[in-house]
């Protein structure tokens, strides 16, 4: 009897391990930012393509649409990979995509936009990365969803087309 029960112990161990791994997998996926649900940080930076005016937090707070803020750089390879997804994103109704160009040169950044296309409504030029730090950016690319001046969601790393469909679009639907 004891012997037979003993033969079930490997099964038990593997199930316990499975539970452990499952939770560790989930704890990796949640990209919880302390800023979620908070008001966006105040900032005001120059525009990349247009010297007249500043791009600032007021532009986002006053907006009625769903705002996406994508932090990118021309030297960042994942950003390049993400670019066609951003093009798709910018075409969704009631969505405005803004960019923050992170630690870049104007020349390279403009070049990047000219070759790959510009899905952004406005691009802030954040050459020293100060504004990104206030947003709590760890690395590029990162994307924030902002609605009425509040941060709703944060995505770390390039947005994959499947993530756009599975995660981002449901959030947009919810907000609408």
């Amino acid at each position: 009897m004891i012997r037979k029960t003993l033969f079930y112990s490997p099964l038990l161990i593997i199930i316990l391990l499975g539970i452990l791994f499952y939770y560790s997998l989930n704890s990796e996926t949640k990209s919880n930012s302390p800023l979620i649900g908070k008001q966006i940080p105040e900032f005001s930076i120059e525009r990349l393509l247009n010297d007249n005016d500043q791009f600032s937090s007021k532009d986002l707070i006053s907006s009625e649409t769903i705002n996406f803020i994508n932090v990118w750089a021309s030297w960042c390879i994942p950003c390049r990979a993400e670019h066609n997804v951003l093009e798709l994103l910018s075409k969704i109704d009631n969505v405005d995509l803004y960019g923050i160009n992170h630690k870049d040169t104007k020349k390279n950044a403009t070049n990047f936009i000219n070759t790959l296309g510009n899905p952004f409504r406005e691009i802030g030029f954040d050459s020293d990365g100060r504004t990104s730090i206030e947003w709590g950016v760890f690395g590029v690319p990162e994307t924030f969803i902002v609605h009425r001046g509040k941060i709703i969601y944060k995505h770390i790393g390039p947005i994959h087309i499947s993530e756009l469909e599975d995660t981002i679009i449901p959030i947009i639907k919810d907000l609408n």
Binding site: I77, G129, G139
Partner: protein
């Protein structure tokens, strides 16, 4: 074929006690050799014993890297944008090491916010940070949020 019950029980007990002792030794050994990871803010908040081996992660602060030529020691500051810790390191900095970039150092905590590093890891590429650093900065973010 079967051995007497008594003999089986004795064998089982001996086996079990050997396993028990072995596991105990291994676990104590594990506890002694754990290296905890802290952010600079953690180090301010908790009281850490000197001479403990720890890991610290964060960003290398701007303009903090100094090199002492006669002792060939590097000094730099790791920050999580709230608190800092001073690092002393004798050795070769990794190629990806740079100011304003993520870094993890492993070494001996020598009190007064100093760590004498024996390893400096900058194992991320240009775009991503080591997961520990993200963790450290996130923790810091929480702290700020309150």
């Amino acid at each position: 074929m079967r051995e007497p019950v008594k003999q089986r029980i004795i064998k089982l007990l001996i086996g079990a006690s050997i396993i028990f002792v072995a596991v105990l030794i291994i676990i104590f050994n594990l506890r002694d050799n754990l290296i905890y990871f802290y952010s600079p803010t953690d180090l301010v908040e908790i009281n850490l014993n000197n001479n403990q081996e720890i890991r610290v992660g964060g960003l290398v602060a701007d303009n903090s890297l100094k090199y002492e030529e006669n002792s060939s020691i590097y000094r730099f500051v790791i920050t999580d944008e709230k608190n800092i810790i001073n690092v002393e390191y004798r050795g070769i900095l990794p190629n990806l090491f740079a100011e304003n970039k993520g870094v993890v150092v492993e070494g001996i905590y020598s009190g007064a916010n100093n760590i004498i590093a024996n390893k400096v890891l900058a194992k991320h590429d240009e775009n991503y940070m080591p997961p520990e650093v993200i963790d450290a900065l996130q923790k810091e973010g929480k702290w700020q949020g309150e």
